[in-house]
Amino acid sequence: MKNVYTTDHIPGKTVTESLGLVRGSSVRARHLGRDISAFFKNVVGGEVEEYTKLLAEAREQALDRMVAEAEAKGADAIVGVRFCGTEIQSGAAEMLAYGTAVRTRADQS
């Protein structure tokens, strides 16, 4: 399913059925070596690529888990998608993606 929207409405489609909340979460960490490199980058400033990558990994995994839940419910789209981060562990990226799984039909023009 590629139909993941942050909006509540999908242009050109009508939501025919709401299947409820779907969500996916992920907590990921890098290894100690990367954490040490990141620590030194934290001292000198600039982008900490180690954690940019870490956050991106967690984001994509959370997104995929949310989509998998929607697919299991028989949805063909997810609307109102949001991301949020939490703080569980230092040096780890925690991401939650959530939205509403829906069935849609194309509007007749």
């Binding site: 991106a56 967690a58 995929d64």
Partner: protein, 146 residues
């Protein structure tokens, strides 16, 4: 050159990743996934490709600068020497700690407690590291760059 035709399992895996299987076929495929390692590896490989395509972004100028700096001999040498020195130093510090404990005038049961504690932590760490090592190829998200 003759065309390469994907096998039935490869086609099924592609359909599964693209969510093109109906409910029953999906359930049946998921049942096979839990038992057939090669099929799970195929799905992971396809997911990895999907992730790379989905998250691909035009390179930024700083990417080329990072690459040049990271590949320069001075940087490679400094990082390599730094890690070697840090690892050797850590081993040396661990040796000093063991020596101090052995030389300390403490009862046997205290030494045994310390040995059990350190040994237990080492075993726990090794079990986590071994688990990670065994599933390292089944994690497609390591290919995500940013």
């Amino acid at each position: 050159m003759s065309p390469v035709h994907p096998s039935r399992d490869e086609l099924l895996a592609m359909a599964y990743v693209d969510d093109q299987l109906d409910h029953d076929a999906r359930r049946e495929f998921e049942l096979r996934l839990s038992k057939e390692e090669h099929l799970a590896a195929e799905v992971v490989a396809l997911r990895r490709l999907d992730l790379i395509a989905r998250t691909a972004a035009p390179p930024e100028p700083i990417d080329f600068a990072w690459k040049r700096v990271d590949e320069s001999p001075s940087q490679v040498g400094a990082v390599g020497a730094g890690w070697i020195a840090t690892c050797l130093g850590s081993l040396g510090l661990a040796g000093i700690a063991i020596q101090l404990i052995l030389q300390a005038q403490i009862p046997l049961w205290e030494r045994a407690s310390i040995a059990l504690f350190v040994g237990g932590l080492t075993l726990l760490f090794l079990s986590v590291a071994w688990r990670r090592w065994k599933v390292r190829n089944m994690d497609p998200y390591t290919s995500v760059k940013r």
